[in-house]
Homo-oligomer: 408 residues x 2
């Protein structure tokens, strides 16, 4: 009695040396699956296991065990992936009484993606390799309200400068030196650009809506404009969703978690069963304007008793404990509604005093679980993203489909 099937063959086909075939058939509603899609799905699945395994690598037999496929099938699939240059053999394991297992590893520099984070006052661009590691980074001041042309031109310029630099200089990274120097070719193969910015927007079509505070952007087809300007594929998403996607790539598993971002505003990115949940119109995650106090104080959105208003007011008057309690109440509502396994906190306000928020939110969740008579409480942690977290997540908008975690 074992489940089976389940896939998602990736939206960005035909890249990276013919990986991911796609069907060529028209697709209305739910798609039938043909052999090309099957091949693509299994390939992506194994690629994802290789990615998750990291530098340690993983053997063919372990892949077979994890996927339920035959060892022979795994051999064939990995042979294809090796021929495509995505995978290499990398040493052997210790023998357990027979021929030692050959370790397979993802080739990080077989592909790259650009992640672009457009915040209200600054811009961050990163170049990530297949593993999601940052290979190059740039940061610049930018005013989102400066007009679309200026913003597009500024962003495109930064992206081009990043790629230019990356193709010449090996690596110039703040955090760490690159573990393995990139290969010979002077040009870096790039899948495209993922853009993350404050919502609301339409992820599917890459069109912006009324970005809070900057009505000028309403209806702007960011995806199309930037794709034409840069000459490569572009995917657009909300900053909170990108952050959540980036965290999902690290978390690895197919679990569920909520990423709560408390900065100048309050929003959430939801990951359900390993996939970012955006809803039908990319409106999911409107966490800041959840009402937790009927007829409470007026919020900027026009409603009363929103979490965001209560939280920010508490922070403004220095009562961080109370802010954490309010946030915790919202988190408890969310956990109760969705039964996620983990709550991650991020954003500048949280980073200012992380322990207070983790303790405060965790306390409310624990109390709630105790009342329900549930034992294993939902853990609360600070998101690991850091300053480039959102940009890295934006790059994942293009990387994730390769590993079978396509959106839609």
């Amino acid at each position: 009695m074992n489940g089976n099937g389940n896939g998602g063959a990736g939206d960005l086909n035909g890249r990276l040396g013919g990986l991911n075939g796609g069907t060529g058939g028209r697709t209305v509603g739910v798609a039938g699956v043909n052999l090309l899609a099957l091949r693509s799905h299994n390939g992506a699945l194994i690629l994802d296991l290789l990615r998750t395994a990291g530098p340690a690598g993983i053997s063919r037999l372990e892949l077979a065990d994890r996927t339920g496929l035959t060892p022979q099938a795994v051999s064939k699939i990995t042979a294809r992936l090796r021929a495509d240059g995505l995978v290499t053999e990398a040493g052997q394991r210790a023998s357990t009484g027979g021929k030692p297992r050959t370790v397979l590893r993802l080739v990080p520099h077989a592909g790259h993606a650009v992640g672009l984070h457009l915040d209200r006052d600054e811009l961050t661009v990163v170049l990530c390799d297949l593993t999601g590691a940052v290979v190059a980074m740039r940061r610049a001041a930018l005013s989102l309200g400066a007009g679309s042309e200026a913003v597009i031109e500024g962003a495109a310029g930064e992206v081009e400068a990043l790629l230019e630099g990356a193709s010449r200089v090996p690596v110039d990274l703040e955090t760490e030196a690159a573990p393995t120097p990139p290969p010979g070719p002077s040009t870096v193969p790039v899948l495209g650009v993922g853009v993350a910015l404050p919502g609301p927007l339409d992820h599917l079509h890459g069109v912006l809506h009324r970005v809070t505070g900057i009505p000028e952007w309403d209806g702007f087809p960011l995806r199309a404009v930037l794709a034409r300007r840069l000459g490569m594929p572009v995917v657009v998403d909300k900053d909170t969703n990108a952050a959540a996607l980036g965290l999902a790539a690290v978390t690895g598993g197919h679990g569920s978690f909520a990423y709560l971002h408390l900065g100048t505003g309050l929003g959430a990115g939801l990951v359900i069963d390993g996939r970012v949940h955006r809803g039908a119109r990319t409106r999911a995650g409107e966490f800041g304007h959840q009402v937790v106090q009927l007829d409470g104080p007026l919020c900027g959105c026009g409603n009363r008793g929103c979490i965001e208003a209560l939280c920010l007011a508490a922070v403004a008057r220095g009562d961080v404990e109370e802010a954490a309690r309010v946030l915790g109440t919202g988190a408890a509502n969310l956990v109760g509604l969705l039964d996620v396994e983990l709550v991650l906190l991020g954003g500048r306000t949280v980073e200012a005093c992380p322990e207070v928020f983790v303790r405060g939110v965790g306390g409310v969740l624990d109390e709630w679980a105790r009342l329900q008579g549930e034992d294993p409480q939902v853990p609360v942690r600070v998101a690991s993203g850091g300053a480039t977290g959102v940009a890295e997540g934006a790059a994942q908008l293009l990387l994730a489909p390769l590993f079978g975690r396509a959106d839609v």
Copy 2:
């Protein structure tokens, strides 16, 4: 640039004349897909389109168009389904200048499932055919607190009586007469029994937790016990989830909606992308104890300001308008968080004055959408289930996997 893949081959394999092969491979984590799973997925997909088409039927070419498969592939698949007795040819369409299309239709009585609804004070059993239509029904008084043995025995007895009656007498239904009299054989092929009851519980293993008010059930392996007693497969789920599943079967599409049930308590069933969202531990949908009034009045759960407490208190003092407003606030929170496309209301309290609740909840949602500057508000409607809605949804716990909408 078309999406592809995506499946779920059904948990209940090997039934109904060899449909749904399953792989036979062990499955850890995410599964690879082999040809058997592919066959099963495409078969289920086409079966689902046939189900959705209803008595009107659907032609092979339309199936090909909707699935993206070749007409020839559809011909082969439908030939298999016809050989299995699940599908028949049923007349022809009008010609459009050539050979007229042959209409295919699901054979309703090719399979049945029992849906059992254990409420606090009564029990409802239905027998549903493949289309989900009720073929037979029984209702009896039952006290959930009367002890596990009495409840199990009573429920099993009712199920057996229902099946006994159905195999002899064609149909005895309150609402309508059966459109097509069932076939010759005296025994009805039954997939199994779906059981719906108040939570919390573990859907995956079919084990009950601390059912509110009746602590005796904590840890009771309902699925295993009932399966052994009846000698057929049993699936257990929360009543709200079953109701939502039943509504999803009617809604048909792969959309998202929330079913809010307001009876003696308040709960929710969530359908996201056409699948019931239960969360990792079947705890999702804890809607009643969402806090919408910080430090509000004490709730039975021990917390303060829960929707359920506020709502029921308002109803108790006769202020239904206020109850609807509170419910609407919770619904708005839910819609904002998940971006569902539809809100359905049900339960005895709602059914007492449906217009007030629909108007009240809708009003809050409209106001919220107006503040956000969104145009197409989320529609609010009364759930169509009626008295047997939950039981029908319970039957869908076994029927849905056949149509590719497997859980987990």
